[in-house]
Amino acid sequence: MPPRLRNILLPAAAGALFVAVWYVFRFSLADEMQFLLPTPGEIIGAFRENGDALARATLNTTEGALLGFAAAIAISIALALALSLSSLVRVSLYPYLMMLQMTPVIVFAPILVLWVGAGLKSVVVITFLICFFPLVVNTTQGLISTDRNLVELFRMYRASRWQEIFLLRVPSALPYFFTGLRIAATLAPIGALVGDYTAGSSAGDGGGLGFQAIIYSSQAKYPALFATAAVTCVLGFIFVAIVLSLSWLALHHWHDSYERADR
């Protein structure tokens, strides 16, 4: 079997098997318990029933995820540049960056609502906080891991500090940056959903998938709840697919990680 066909057929078979087990399990439950595990068919039905609400919520969550993700990228690049330029700055700030990552964002959601208001702003801040750390750590690592021989070459040709940063350190940090970006891309939709769940607002149809999740679970609309989770999954896949494409565009012609696919 050609490898490409195999790579499609095997996951498809595994998925079909999973759905089959799902149905078997569901119908082996006692009748009064069956509502706890909706079938895939019921979930698809929930999409039809709640299509408008889910679509609106998906758009709102996508907006929050995109804005938070973009802010995390922009600020992490700026901070990574600053951190890479001075080991003193690095040593001073690293513990606090770690602390930021360890801090459970959800605990601060209520106060965040008081600071910036419930809704999109809170969602963006929470997404930003969740995406920020892997981006800044990976990008900084990339910027300080430049091949020493290449740095010496640039010094030898009397490159200016700016030339060294933008012609040498930044391009050689790209593979690390994309590693961070890939991790952050999986976190962004989840971050936006968590943000919406804890600090969202339905004012002016501004509610996102997190808000819908609250509504569906309070109404015991479990097929719709599963549909909400499915939409979030798809959103995450789209984010990752976009980042993987960008990574391929930036790296495939020179970086060793793409070597096998090319030849």
């Binding site: 021989n149 290449l150 010496e152 030898m156 040709y157 009397r158 391009p171 012609h253 020179w254 070597e259």
Partner: protein, 256 residues
Amino acid sequence: MPATPLVDLRDVTKRYGDGPVVLDRVSLAATPGDFVSLIGPSGCGKSTLLRLIAGLSPLTTGAVTVCGHTPEEAAAELAFVFQEPTLLPWLSVAHNVAVPLQLRGAAPAERAAATHRVLELVRLADRAGAYPRQLSGGQKMRVSLARALSLAPRLLLLDEPFGALDEMTREHLNEELLAIRELQAWTAFFVTHSVAEAVFLSNRILVMAAGPGRVHAEIAVPFAYPRTAATRLSREYLDLVAEVSRLLRSVEGAAA
């Protein structure tokens, strides 16, 4: 009238901090057109000597002048070829070659012309669009050489550039290097571990000794340029290789 030296070292001593003396009162001069090989046991300071001439590392005492100036002032006149090809993997061959000119702020047209010219010299004009990972070890080294030549330097400093290559590739590159030298007048300092390579390339061989690093002996290589693959078959060439090898062994024996 003796030619003014292009490179002049007077009583150059080098120590790293409180460590041992790496180079002890080395004096030497190279006139334009010289091809000087530095050969000697590991730890004799031959690579350090090259880095001092390049201004990549400060002297402890003594003086180095290149074209009558300090190495820093003469930066535009000299180019360095490292042991590794040190190519930027994300740039094509042509862009790699253009890096020194780009850093110097040369106009795109000037860069393109110079790049094409030196890639012709190293016979890689047809690989201008390739990326380093698509090249063989020998090709990478030729790109590195082309990059050094792109600035039309008066002094070329080469630190064991062909050390990692197989014998055949190394011999071919030696011949190419001399062929390029027929077209471009530069002076060279060439660090190597290979006696055959030193004899083939140079008109002067400095045999260095370690502990502390110093010039032990200088050997003049009398064969006329241009030299070709046939030079390696001559009786005189083989005799000189044997003589330099003996001398090198005696220096290494004394150190051990």
